[in-house]
C-alpha cells in the first residue's frame, strides 16, 4: 500500500513529526496496526539498517530514523496490545557491573526496539544476579551485555555461568559486545553470540530469538 511505503520513507528521512500523522492516516484507511507496524515502521527501519550496514548513512541518521519510528510506535502500541499482537520477543540489556559506559548499550537498545523487540534496559552497573533476575521476571529470551573495560568483562562470564547453574542456559540466550570484547572471548566464556556493532547485534539477536 502506498501509505505504508510513505511511512517507511518518512522514517528513513527521520521526520518524527510526520510519522504519527501518516500512521493515523493508514489506520483510518483501515490498515491493521500490525500491517502498519510491519509494512511501515519496521520496513522503514530495516531499510535504514541496511543503508547503515553498507555505510550509505551514518549513526545520527539512524538515530533520527529510530526516533521517527518510536513516534509511530507510540500511536500503535495501545492498538497492538488490544489486538494481542506479540512483540518479536523481550531482550534484557545493560552495561555490566562496574561499567558506567552506556552509549554503545543505548545504541544497541534503540536498534533492537527499531527491529520490533521489546527492550528492558537495566542501565549501567548491572550485576550478574540483576541480569538473570530481570530476564526471568520479564520472561526475556535474550540477555544483552555491554562492557567497555577489560576489568568489567568477567561479569559477562558470571551471567553465563549463573544461567547454566540455574538451568536457564537453553531458554535464555546471551549476547555480548563492547570495545574490548571479541568473538573469541564470547566463545571462551560460552556466550551465545557476539555483536561487533549495534547493527550486527540486531542480526544476532534475531537469530537467537528465533532459536530460543
Amino acid at each position: 500500500m502506498e501509505i505504508l511505503k510513505q511511512i517507511a520513507r518518512t522514517i528513513e528521512e527521520g521526520d518524527a513529526a510526520a510519522v504519527p500523522r501518516l500512521v493515523g492516516e493508514a489506520l483510518a484507511a483501515e490498515s491493521s496496526a500490525k500491517a502498519v507496524l510491519d509494512g511501515g515502521l519496521i520496513a522503514g527501519m530495516n531499510a535504514v539498517g541496511e543503508k547503515f550496514r553498507v555505510h550509505e548513512i551514518f549513526l545520527p541518521d539512524v538515530l533520527l530514523a529510530a526516533k521517527a519510528m518510536y513516534a509511530g510506535l507510540d500511536v500503535l502500541k495501545p492498538l497492538l496490545e488490544r489486538a494481542g499482537v506479540a512483540s518479536r520477543g523481550r531482550v534484557v540489556i545493560g552495561s555490566v557491573q562496574g561499567d558506567l559506559h552506556d552509549i554503545g548499550k543505548n545504541l544497541v537498545g534503540i536498534m533492537l526496539k527499531g527491529a520490533g523487540f521489546e527492550v528492558i534496559d537495566l542501565g549501567s552497573d548491572v550485576s550478574a544476579v540483576g541480569f538473570v533476575a530481570a530476564a526471568r521476571s520479564h520472561e526475556a529470551r535474550v540477555i544483552g551485555m555491554s562492557a567497555l573495560l577489560t576489568t568489567t568483562m568477567p561479569v559477562m562470564k558470571e551471567v553465563v555461568d549463573l544461567l547454566k547453574k540455574e538451568n536457564l542456559g537453553g531458554r535464555i540466550k546471551t549476547i555480548i559486545g563492547g570495545a574490548p570484547v571479541s568473538r573469541d572471548y564470547a566463545e571462551e566464556i560460552g556466550a551465545d553470540a557476539y555483536g561487533y556493532d549495534c547493527a550486527q547485534a540486531v542480526e544476532r539477536v534475531k537469530e537467537l530469538a528465533a532459536a530460543s
Binding site: F58, L59, P60, L64, G98, L100, H101, N106, T151
Partner: protein, 233 residues
C-alpha cells in the same frame, strides 16, 4: 595552573563526524549538520572544564606507575619516564552537568545525545592535547630542565599501564578536589574525565619503535600518530 578555554576544547566538525562513523570523503546529511550545531551549542553552555596537575620526582612517579603491580612486563612508559625532564600527574573533567544532559537526551532525543556524547568525548581528548602543550612549554620548565621539550600524556588503561593504576594516581593527585571520583573498577565519574602522567622531555625520548604484544588488541592506536609527529632531533 592550566587554563582550558572552551574554544581550545571544542572539536572540529570533521572529527565529530568521524567519531560517529562517517567515512572519509562522505558528506553528512543536512539533518546531521543541524544536530551538530545544537550539540556544539549545548557543549558551550554546559561544559565545566577543570584540570589538576602535580609535579612528580622520578621516584615518586615510579611508585605511582608500579601501582598494584599489574602493568604489562614490557611497556613504553617504563622506558620513557626515567628519561623525562619533567613529570606531572594530571586529571581533567568536563563536569557533571554535560554528562547529565547526555543521559537525559538518551531517554528521548537520542540522536542529539549521541552527537553531544561524541563532542564531549573529543573535547576531553583535546584537553589532553592542551595539557601536553602546557607541560612541554618552556614556561613550565624550572631549574635545569629547560629546553625544547615535547610532552605526551600517558594514561592508565593505555599502552600496558594497567587501569588499576588509577588507584595510586588518585591517591597521589587527589582529583576529588575538582569533582572526580573513582569507582571499584577504576572508572571515573563524571564519565567525561581523563587522567594520566604528562611526560616532558627532549623529543627523542618519545620515539618508541617497538610494537608491544598488547598493541594487537588496541582499538585506539593514536600513539603511532603522535610518535611519528615527534620532530627529529
Amino acid at each position: 595552573m592550566i587554563d582550558f578555554p572552551l574554544s581550545r576544547l571544542e572539536p572540529e566538525a570533521e572529527s565529530v563526524y568521524a567519531a560517529l562513523g562517517l567515512k572519509p570523503g562522505a558528506r553528512p546529511s543536512p539533518r546531521s549538520g543541524e544536530l551538530l550545531l545544537r550539540a556544539l551549542d549545548s557543549f558551550r553552555r554546559l561544559a565545566e572544564p577543570r584540570g589538576l596537575v602535580l609535579p612528580q620526582t622520578e621516584e615518586e612517579f615510579a611508585a605511582v606507575f608500579h601501582g598494584q603491580g599489574r602493568n604489562e612486563t614490557r611497556n613504553p612508559l617504563q622506558r620513557v619516564h626515567p628519561l623525562a625532564a619533567r613529570l606531572h600527574l594530571f586529571a581533567f573533567t568536563l563536569g557533571e552537568t554535560i554528562s547529565a544532559e547526555i543521559e537525559r537526551l538518551f531517554a528521548g532525543d537520542f540522536a542529539l545525545g549521541a552527537v553531544l556524547d561524541a563532542v564531549a568525548s573529543l573535547a576531553a581528548d583535546n584537553a589532553g592535547r592542551v595539557a601536553e602543550e602546557w607541560a612541554g612549554s618552556p614556561a613550565t620548565a624550572s631549574g635545569g630542565s629547560r629546553g625544547a621539550h615535547v610532552a605526551f600524556l600517558y594514561s592508565p588503561g593505555y599502552c600496558g599501564w594497567h587501569i588499576s593504576g588509577q588507584e595510586a594516581l588518585f591517591a597521589a593527585l587527589r582529583p576529588e578536589v575538582i569533582g572526580i571520583r573513582l569507582n571499584a573498577s577504576f572508572l571515573m565519574t563524571p564519565l567525561k574525565s581523563i587522567s594520566g602522567v604528562l611526560v616532558a622531555g627532549p623529543p627523542a625520548i618519545h620515539r618508541v619503535e617497538s610494537v608491544y604484544p598488547f598493541c594487537a588488541q588496541c582499538k585506539s592506536p593514536a600513539c603511532r600518530e603522535r610518535v611519528s609527529a615527534v620532530p627529529p632531533t
